[in-house]
Amino acid sequence: MAKKKQKQIITKPSSRRPDANPTTANQRTYTIPDYRLEKPSFTIRQVRKADGVRYEVSGDFNGTVPPIRESRYLNRQQHLEIYRWMLLNRNMETALENLYKQGKVVGGVYFGLGQEACSCASAYALKKEDWLGPMIRNQGSTLVRGFSPRDIMMQYMAKAGSPTRGRDASSHFGDIQDRNVVSPISTLGDLIPVLAGVALGARLQGRNIAVMTYIGDGGQSTGVTYEGLNFAAVQNLGLVLFVENNLWAYSTPADMQFRVKDLAERAIAYGIPGVIVDGTDACQVYDAAHEACERARRGEGPTLIEAKMMRMKGHAIHDAAEYVPKPLFEYWRKRDSIARFENYLLNVKKWISPTENRELIAGVDQQLEADREFAVASPMPEPESAAGGVYCENGCHQIKPKYATPRVKARPAARVKYTEAAVHLK
C-alpha cells in the first residue's frame, strides 16, 4: 500500500484572525425571561428492560405544586371569563369522548387535556381584528374566537351543519369573514408562514395586527416552522407563536425532538424575543400573549412563547399513552390547569363563591348538553354535497381587502435593463 504523503498544516501566528480568542467584550449574551414559579426538569430516555425497550423518566418529582402567578393585566371579570372558557374546553372534550364511545363520532377525537390554559388564555389576548391559526389541540382557542361547541361536535360527527359542511374533521375549520380563524391542515408548521402572510396582508392595508398560531415540541422539528418564523422575523410581522411543549409528539418524547434545553432559546436564532411560561397557568399564558400581541400591534415583530406542560392523554382517542412513564402523569395531574385556577379564584382571590362556581359549571354543562343534543339530531350531509366547491366561481365570494384599500404611492416609472438576467440559459 502506497504511503500517503501527510500534508503538514502550519498555522502561522500572523494568519490568526484577531478575534480568535474571544473576549468578554464580543461575547453575546441573551436573556430568555422565564415566568414559571417552578421549573421541572425531567429526562426521558429509551431503556432496554426485561420486556423490551421502554421510556424511562428521571428527575425530581417531589416539588410542591406552584401557585398561580398574579396577572399584571387581567381584571376579575377577565379571570372568570378565561376560567369559563377553560371549563367549556375541557367539558366539551369530555362530551366528545362520550359521543365517541356511543359510536357517534366519525374517526378519532383529539384532546387538549392539560393544555386548556394555554389554548384559552392565549386566544383571549386577541382582539376582534386579530387572527388565530389553531392546531389540533387548540379547540379551546376556537371557542374563545367565537365558534360554539356544537360547531366542533358537528365537525367530529361529520354533520351537514358543521363549519366545513362535513368536508373536514376535528379543528380543521376556519372563518375569514367574522372570526378571523385560519383552518389548520394535518401537517405541522404550515400555519406559521400563513399567519405571517395574514399579517403582511393587513400591513399592506395599513394595519398592524396580531396573528397567533401554535406549534408543538414535535411540530417545531419541521422545516416550514423555520421558514415561517424566519420570514416573520425578517419582515417584522406581528406573529405570536406559541410553542406548546407538551413533552410528547404522538409517542416520541421531547428529548428525541430537539437538543436545546428550552425551545424558547430558538428565538435567539431568529433574532426575536422568546419567553417561557408555565402552560398550566392561565395568568402567565395570558400576560405573555398580551405583551406579544401589543408588540405585534406596535409593529415590533414576532414573539416566540414557549409554554411548558404535559399532554394528559394519548395523541388521539385510540392511543392509551401506555408509553408515558406513570410518574409523569401523577406529577402533572397535581398541576392541573383548571383545578389550580379554580382554587386561585375561589380561595386565593375569593373572586367567586362556591355557589357561584357551581352555577358557572352548571351553566357550562347546560350549554354543552344543548349543543350536544343539537349536534346529534342534526342531519348528515347529502352524498351529492361532496360535489362542487373545488373552485371559487360564479361569484361565490366577494374578494376585497379586509381592512382598507392598500395605500399605493405613485413613483416615477423606472429604467428597464435585462443585461444581468440569467441569460446563460439560452
Partner: protein, 324 residues
C-alpha cells in the same frame, strides 16, 4: 402595436395589474432591486416600492404560505419562483394548504405562483423541468402554460384576476426568443380556453407552451408535402378545454398529443381518455403520444436534444398517421 418578447409581455401583464389593482403585490427571491433572476420584475421595486415588491428569504414554503395568508385578507399576491424546479420545496403548502382551502373551509385563495420552467436551455436536471403535472393532479389549482407573448400577457392578467390559486408556468426557452405584436390596451385571455394556433384538415397536434412552436415548425415542413396539421394550443392544462379537444378531433379524426414533460402520467394520457369519452367514434387512427422520455432532464446538449421531442418526431409520426 408594440412588439414585445414573451418575457416583456409577462412583465407588462403583472405591471399593469399592479397599476390597476392596489391589492396586487409581488413576493419572491431577488425580485426587488435585482429585478428577478430573469428580470421579469425589473424596475418594479422603483415603481411600486419595497412594500409591494417583497424580497424574501430562500424559503419557498414561506413564500407560498405567506402569499396564501395575504390572500385571506383579500390581497392578490403574485409569488415568483426563481425556477419552477424549486416548487417541490413548497409542495405541501400548494397541494395541501392552498389547493384544498376552498373545498374544505370555503376560503378562496386568489394568488398566482409563477416562474420559469422548461428545457432546451441546457439547464440540467434542476433548471429545466416541466413539473406542471404535479399540480394538474391536485384539484383546486389552475395550471397555465402560455406559448405566445400575446397569451402570456393576457393569461397573466386573467390569472391575477382569478379568484383561485393559479400556477403559471412560463417557458424560459421562449422568454426572449419570440417577439410579437401585443396590444397596449387592457385585454385578458380567459383561463381554460384553448386556441387553434394553426388550422389544418389532416391531423391535429394537441400541445402547449414551447411545444406549440415545435408543432408549428413541423406543420411548415408537412405543408410542403400536402399534409395540413392543425395545432391546438391548450394554453391552460387545468382545467382542460374539453370542447376544443373534441372539436379538433371531429375535424381531423387523427391526433398527436405532444408535450415536453415526461411520458408516464403526462397530460397526453388524460387527453387520450377525454377523446375516448367524447369523440371515440370520430377517430380514424390510434392516438399518438410524442413526449420526453421517462427520465430527469439531462444536462449535456446532445443528451438534452435526444431527451426533448423535436419537430422531426412530429413530422415522422404525422406521415405515419396520414398513411394509417
Amino acid at each position: 402595436m408594440p412588439q414585445l418578447t414573451y418575457l416583456e409581455a409577462i412583465r407588462q401583464g403583472i405591471w399593469e395589474e399592479m397599476e390597476r389593482e392596489p391589492a396586487v403585490f409581488c413576493l419572491g427571491e431577488d425580485i426587488g432591486i435585482y429585478g428577478g433572476a430573469f428580470k421579469v420584475t425589473d424596475g418594479f421595486i422603483d415603481r411600486f416600492g419595497p412594500e409591494r415588491v417583497v424580497d424574501t428569504p430562500i424559503a419557498e414554503s414561506a413564500i407560498v404560505g405567506a402569499a396564501f395568508g395575504a390572500s385571506l385578507t383579500g390581497m392578490r399576491p403574485v409569488a415568483e419562483f426563481q425556477f419552477m424546479d424549486f416548487i417541490g420545496c413548497a409542495f405541501n403548502q400548494i397541494v395541501n394548504m392552498v389547493a384544498k382551502a376552498h373545498y374544505r373551509w370555503g376560503a378562496p385563495a386568489p394568488l398566482v405562483i409563477r416562474g420559469p420552467s422548461g428545457g432546451n436551455v441546457h439547464g440540467g436536471p434542476f433548471h429545466s423541468q416541466n413539473p406542471e403535472m404535479w399540480f394538474v393532479h391536485a384539484p383546486g389549482l389552475k395550471v397555465v402554460c402560455p406559448a405566445s407573448a400575446y397569451d402570456a400577457k393576457g393569461l397573466m392578467k386573467a390569472a391575477i384576476r382569478d379568484d383561485n390559486p393559479v400556477i403559471f408556468f412560463e417557458h424560459k426557452y421562449l422568454y426572449r426568443r419570440i417577439k410579437e405584436d401585443v396590444p397596449a390596451e387592457d385585454y385578458i385571455v380567459p383561463l381554460g380556453k384553448a386556441r387553434v394556433a394553426r388550422e389544418g384538415r389532416d391531423l391535429s397536434v394537441i400541445t402547449y407552451a414551447a411545444m406549440v412552436h415545435t408543432a408549428l415548425e413541423a406543420a411548415e415542413v408537412l405543408s410542403q408535402e400536402g399534409i395540413e396539421l392543425e395545432v391546438l394550443d391548450l394554453r391552460t392544462i387545468a382545467p382542460l378545454d374539453r370542447e376544443a379537444i373534441a372539436h379538433t378531433v371531429r375535424k381531423t379524426n387523427k391526433v398527436i398529443v405532444l408535450h415536453e414533460h415526461s411520458r408516464t402520467g403526462g397530460i397526453a394520457g388524460e387527453i387520450a381518455s377525454l377523446i375516448n369519452e367524447d369523440a371515440f367514434d370520430d377517430l380514424d387512427s390510434p392516438i399518438v403520444r410524442i413526449t420526453a422520455q421517462d427520465s430527469p432532464v439531462p444536462f449535456s446538449p446532445p443528451q438534452e436534444e435526444y431527451f426533448l421531442p423535436k419537430a422531426s418526431d412530429v413530422v415522422r409520426e404525422a406521415r405515419r398517421l396520414k398513411a394509417y
